[in-house]
């Protein structure tokens, strides 16, 4: 079993923080958090995770309050990084669950 925490600093004020837990090379848990630096604190804007084996995506406001949660298909870290690369902060204006 292995727990892997990764932080991708994309720009000075944007990053993706991921947590992946694998058992026998199979992913048992993941969370991918797109975060924006707010003052000296990183705030999650969009988060994909599969807690309790239910893949979903959550979006949050600038203060970290949950705005929306929707079921979605499983995402990989590569997909999330590609989405953030394409949309950047505009991802908040998209229909995230369909991406």
């Amino acid at each position: 079993m292995i727990i892997e925490k990764k932080i991708y600093r994309l720009r000075d004020n944007q990053r993706v923080k991921s947590l992946e837990i694998k058992k026998d090379k199979q992913m048992v848990y993941y969370s991918y958090n797109y975060q924006i630096l707010n003052g000296s604190e990183w705030k999650t804007s969009v988060r994909w995770d599969n807690y309790q084996s239910q893949p979903h995506v959550d979006s949050f406001d600038d203060n970290g309050n949950l705005l929306d949660t929707s079921s979605t298909r499983d995402k990989s870290l590569k997909e999330v990084l590609e989405l953030i690369d394409i949309f950047g902060k505009n991802i908040l204006n998209m229909d995230i669950k369909k991406l």
Binding site: M1, I2, I3, E4, K5, K6, I7, Y8, R9, L10, R11, D12, L19, I21, Y29, S31, N33, T44, R47, D49, Y51, H56, D58, N65, L66, T69
Partner: protein, 147 residues
């Protein structure tokens, strides 16, 4: 255009994993208490969900690795010779504070403080708060520069 990536990698040893477990337990008293909080908070506090997963799998004996990947060329530009030496020094020696580090490097406190702050701002080192002191620590076993 050349794409530069700086990777900081760290694999926790047994003692470091114990410390991580204890930090989470100190914060929530017990795994059950954390589980209850997660159950109540659900998606509103995602950090708690991650902490619960981490401690549950650490208790099952999982390994723990951390990696920070920076695509910013700025991170590379801040790595002057003196700052790289500073990072090498804190990786290999015990340092009790920024003042202690300045003394051991035989450098001016203000200059060392500024270097520590720049490295911290770029995610290249961490500052551990112990009482009123801030102890500079390296967050990686390996620093890799990839093109």
């Amino acid at each position: 255009m050349i794409q530069i990536q700086i990777k900081l990698r760290k694999k926790y040893n047994k003692n470091e994993k114990e410390t991580l477990k204890n930090q989470i337990l100190d914060e929530f008293e017990s795994v059950d208490r954390l589980r209850q909080k997660v159950s109540r908070a659900g998606c509103t506090e995602p950090e708690l969900v991650d902490k619960l997963q981490i401690i549950e799998y650490l208790q099952k004996g999982a390994d723990y690795k951390e990696e920070t990947i920076s695509h910013s060329e700025k991170s590379l530009s801040v790595m002057t010779h003196k700052r790289v030496y500073l990072m090498e020094y804190i990786a290999k020696n015990e340092v009790k504070s920024i003042q202690d580090l300045a003394n051991k490097l035989d450098r001016d406190y203000k200059n060392v403080y500024d270097d520590v702050k720049v490295l911290f701002d770029n995610g290249l080192i961490d500052l551990e708060k112990v009482g009123k002191r801030r102890i500079p620590i390296l967050t990686a076993d390996n620093i890799i520069i990839e093109f």
